[in-house]
């Protein structure tokens, strides 16, 4: 765990952030949104974490937050850093980091389209994968995709008696679906 400790300490000393080692070759850091780009730059320029693996969003609707994850990797140390930050769901806005990694542009355009997160200064077409979309960004959890499909597309009769596969299976096996999972069942 030497390499992991080294990078974790370096970041902690420089930025005063929370972090821990999740397992071998994986360091998790949670930081305020204002210093995310500084940490990324620090890791890239001074610690050799030159590769941006992934950027992703989790919709934490219960907390009114979006969780943003930046996953970076060092080819020399072979350690992955997962940098996590939370931003407000209302008027979500995050710093644009495509000047650090060009490929971040693609991820950010997708986040903008699918979650409605704005990145000031982001250059690129508004449409990413969708075309002429004028509803709420579809990957937000408060977007009701079933209701949207019902009002937009023709529903062929005959689907009404379709059963929820999980419910039918649990009826057979006697397993109980926990409450939090029931929410996603059909009714």
């Amino acid at each position: 765990m030497e390499k992991e400790n080294k990078i974790l300490e370096a970041i902690k000393v420089a930025f005063n952030v929370e972090g821990h080692i999740a397992r071998e070759k994986r360091v998790m850091i949670t930081a305020n949104k204002d210093i995310v780009s500084s940490i990324l730059l620090f890791c890239k320029n001074q610690q050799g974490y030159i590769h941006l693996n992934h950027m992703s969003v989790v919709d934490r609707i219960e907390d009114g937050k979006f969780e943003l994850n930046y996953i970076i990797w060092s080819p020399t140390e072979k350690v992955t850093i997962m940098l996590k930050t939370f931003i407000d769901r209302e008027n979500a806005e995050m710093e644009n980091i495509d000047s650090i990694w060009d490929q971040a542009n693609t991820y950010e355009r997708e986040m903008r389209e699918m979650y409605g997160i704005q990145f000031p200064g982001l250059i690129g077409r508004q449409d990413f994968a969708l075309e002429d979309w004028d509803e709420m960004p579809p990957m937000r959890r408060d977007f009701d995709t079933h209701a949207y499909a019902e009002k937009t597309f023709y529903q062929r009769p005959g689907r009404e008696d379709a059963k929820d596969v999980r419910e039918e299976l649990t009826k057979q096996s006697g397993e109980v679906i926990p409450d939090f999972a029931k929410k996603y069942s059909r009714e």
């Binding site: 994968a129 969708l130 075309e131 002429d132 004028d134 509803e135 579809p138 977007f143 995709t145 079933h146 949207y148 499909a149 019902e150 937009t152 597309f153 023709y154 529903q155 062929r156 005959g158 689907r159």
Partner: protein
């Protein structure tokens, strides 16, 4: 292709239909997961070319448009253009339950649910996904319709163009498409 009854066909129509049914050029255009069954259908084990089924590279040379599965609203636009560019006679085969009623993507915000609201479908093949045997049996069904002279959906499309256009425009909000005067 005007008569609907096998007995009423003139000898010319009969020969026309006979030759049409034995040379079905399939537009090489795949949507959804079902396209993965096409190579299996075409290659040596199932060898669809026995039935005169083979690929065509461009819409203008193709007879059959296979919609191989779920159709994203974005793709629908391209499919309509491809369909409208195809020359008569042209046929459409809907492939998999996604084209019939939405399949497992019935509640997706981004895939249409019933293909025949947007372009006329001659044959539906059900299954998720249909195996090559099912695909071939669908083609045989189509050949039967062609031989009987009942596969004239392209004419229906022209007749009911307004209805189809209205449905299409409901999905494709920003309609920037050429008009073809077939």
């Amino acid at each position: 292709m005007t008569s609907n009854n096998k007995d009423k066909q003139t000898i010319v129509e009969y020969i026309q239909n006979w030759s049409r049914k034995h040379s079905l050029f399939v537009m090489a255009y795949g949507t959804g997961c079902g396209a993965i069954e096409i190579p299996a259908t075409m290659t040596s084990r199932y060898d669809a070319e026995r039935f005169g089924i083979r690929g065509a590279a461009t819409p203008r040379q193709a007879d059959v448009l296979l919609i191989t599965g779920y159709l994203a609203t974005k793709t629908l636009k391209r499919v309509i253009r491809v369909y409208e560019q195809m020359q008569d006679p042209k046929y459409v085969i809907g492939f998999g339950s996604c084209t019939i009623n939405g399949g497992m993507y019935y509640d997706s915000y981004n895939t249409i649910n019933a293909l025949d609201r947007y372009i006329p479908v001659d044959v539906y093949i059900n299954g998720c996904m249909p195996r090559p045997e099912a695909v071939i049996s669908g083609f045989v069904q189509l050949q039967k319709q062609i031989a009987e002279g009942t596969a004239n959906n392209a004419a229906k499309y022209k007749e009911n163009l307004e209805w189809y256009r209205a449905n299409q425009k409901k999905i494709i909000k920003n309609w920037r498409m050429p008009d073809y005067n077939w």
